[in-house]
């Protein structure tokens, strides 16, 4: 008899539930058997990457950063399209080269515009 096609999902579910339960259970068992409770100020301190957090988390971020991210995207997308183009380059007609040139020039205009508006200067 074949198992139900979705039977593996039930198996996944069982493993997914059992895994953390077993892990936490073992840890709990360890605490109960070998580790007596001795809380102190150092032990109760918040642990966050080794550094104590300072100040409010509601601070203003510099919006300028996002402009950089968007400008980075220009190159990112350009690469995404140029790579397959470069791979198939030898088999492509002239039209493809012109099309790619137009595409790259469109992106370049965006970059030049942003440059001209002074978005590349970090104030």
């Amino acid at each position: 008899m074949h198992p139900h096609p979705y039977a593996f999902l039930a198996l996944f579910l069982a493993v997914a539930v059992a895994f953390p339960v077993i892990m936490l259970g073992v840890a709990r068992l360890w605490v109960v058997c070998f580790q007596p409770q001795r809380p102190g100020p150092m032990k109760n301190a918040t642990y966050e990457c080794g550094l104590e957090s300072t100040g409010d988390s509601w601070i203003q971020f510099k919006a300028h950063y996002y402009l950089y991210a968007i400008l980075f995207l220009i190159f990112d997308v350009e690469l995404l399209f140029l790579l397959p183009f470069a791979v198939a380059f030898t088999g492509l007609p002239t039209g493809a080269l012109v099309a790619m040139l137009v595409f790259v020039l469109l992106l370049v205009e965006g970059l030049v515009w942003a440059w001209h508006r002074g978005h590349l200067e970090w104030q």
């Binding site: 007609p93 469109l106 515009w113 001209h116």
Partner: protein, 505 residues
């Protein structure tokens, strides 16, 4: 797909078919280039370049109205060029031309970068033109998102005004929701039409022709998933046209957006929604058992909601937004009628043109009367306009009269055509609701006219008038507003060329 097929597809791409859109894109890029090249004092000429360029493209489009590609599919059937598509192309070009003109009036009152505004308007109108001709869900979605993303920027363009930012945020959230609904509908239709277990399944379930033939096969139109997909796509479009129950974003966004953008949203975005709706109605025609009752209820609710909600408004931008909701309802009435009466298609297009002329006349006056705070445009600010500026008041009366549907203006003929079509189609109940809506609408439109003609500025109004500089109407604006008002009057008496042109039979 093999390389041969791909090359064949590449060879058959007819760039000439989308020449107007390409020119608009190039014009948009040219504006940015000019901004970089021209010295600072000459940059006032850039909007003029945009105006002249668009006028040139419009003339070219009108001359080549009956192109060789009419009634053919191009770009691997991503696009389909129809008579309706050509009419909508002209419509969007006229709309973007007028928005550019409004921008030239409104933008100098604010401290914002100028050139990007015209750039984005051009990109949006090119995308709208593609949207009206799309024949494939991928094309439709990409064009629609280009329009919507452009509008996100434009709505929050006056970025120092909290109203404008609020409007931008609300439009972003609502726009994302509507795009989500639309995509979910498209995904359902794609899944069900490409399912090999169903009869009539197609290899190209995103293409409109494949989807139509699938829906027309057997009982597929009654398939639960297909019907859900059709409804969700309809909901996504209803957001764009502001039909009940998806109209909730309209008042706030219309109020906060800069006046030219409000005009573009009210006319361009709405018309784009209707162009898509007509295309989809043909694709979904086997599902009309579902669509006709849904759109009928939607139209009735939209007409009633828009008109009754507009009654209590004092901010003119909110008022126009809610009255625009009711206009969407009247247009939906024509859409419902078009299922059985082909004449309704022409009637809706005529109504759209009448709405365009009247709306831009009114928005043109609003752009002049508005002060430095663009979101703050109350009915009281119009008190005594007839004395201080009779020209603007006259244009306002003609525009509002046409929107209200007062004979013999163009708006009246538009409503008449749609009502005749609905009568022929036998939607008597809906017709009754629509007539109630028209009667209610006269009240608030005439309240506005009353403010302009019969009210004297009150104490607070005096203060406003004193703080505002005397309204001066530039030469270009004067000519354009005169033309809009004259066209509104003339179209009421004589629809001849335009009537034939929108295939009114």
């Amino acid at each position: 797909m093999t390389t041969d097929l791909l090359q064949q597809a590449a060879a058959s791409n007819q760039w000439a078919a989308i020449f107007p859109e390409l020119s608009l894109g190039c014009l948009a890029l040219l504006l940015l280039g000019l901004e970089m090249v021209l010295p600072k004092d000459n940059q006032r000429q850039i909007p003029l370049v945009a105006l002249v360029g668009q006028a040139g493209i419009l003339v070219g489009l009108l001359i080549n109205f009956y192109t060789a590609t009419l009634d053919t599919e191009t770009f691997n059937s991503l696009l389909r060029h129809t008579h309706q598509g050509q009419v909508m192309r002209v419509f969007f070009l006229v709309a973007s031309l007028l928005v550019t003109m409004l921008g030239m009036i409104s933008l100098p009152k604010q401290k914002v970068p100028r050139v990007e505004f015209y750039h984005i308007v051009l990109v949006i109108s090119a995308a709208m033109m593609l949207l009206a001709q799309s024949n494939h869900f991928v094309m439709l979605f990409v064009a629609l998102e280009t329009v919507t993303v452009g509008f996100y920027i434009l709505v929050s363009y006056f970025r120092t005004s909290p109203f404008s930012l609020e409007a931008g945020l609300k439009y972003l959230v609502m726009g994302a929701l509507s795009s989500g609904l639309l995509l979910f509908g498209i995904a359902l239709l794609y899944g069900v039409a490409g399912n090999p277990a169903l009869p009539g399944h197609t290899a190209e379930p995103m293409g409109f022709s494949g989807l139509h033939s699938f829906l027309a096969t057997g009982a597929n139109a009654h398939h639960f998933l297909a019907a859900s997909g059709v409804l969700l796509v309809l909901a996504g479009i209803a957001f764009k046209i502001g039909a009940f129950p998806f109209q909730i974003w309209i008042p706030d966004v219309y109020q906060g957006a800069p006046t030219p953008v409000t005009a573009f949203l009210a006319v361009g975005s709405k018309a784009a929604g209707f162009a898509v709706l007509f295309n989809l109605l043909q694709v979904f025609s086997p599902c009309s058992w579902l669509l006709v009752p849904v759109i009928t209820v939607m139209a009735a609710a939209t007409i009633l909601f828009g008109n009754f909600a507009a009654l209590t408004q004092h901010n003119v931008k909110r008022l126009l937004g809610l009255s625009g909701v009711s206009h969407a309802g009247f247009l939906l009435l024509g859409v419902v009628a078009s299922v059985t009466v082909p004449m309704a298609v022409g009637a809706v297009h005529f109504y759209l043109f009448a709405y365009l002329l009247a709306s831009f006349a009114v928005f043109g006056v609003m752009a002049h009367v508005a002060g430095a705070n663009d979101a703050d445009q109350e009915l009281d600010h119009y008190a005594g306009l007839a004395k201080t500026n009779p020209f603007l008041a006259a244009v306002l009366v003609i525009g509002l009269g046409s929107l209200a549907g007062i004979p013999p203006l163009a708006g009246f003929m538009g409503k008449l055509f749609i009502f005749v079509a609905a009568f022929k189609a036998g939607h008597y109940g809906l017709l009754g609701v629509a007539i109630v809506g028209v009667v209610v609408s006269i009240y608030y439109y005439f309240g506005w006219i009353k403010a302009a003609f019969f009210e004297t500025p009150t104490a607070s109004g005096d203060e406003c008038q004193a703080s505002r500089p005397q309204i001066s109407v530039g030469l270009v604006a004067r000519v354009v507003l005169t033309l809009l008002a004259m066209a509104t009057v003339v179209l009421g008496f004589y629809q001849g060329p335009l009537g034939v042109w929108v295939a009114l039979r």
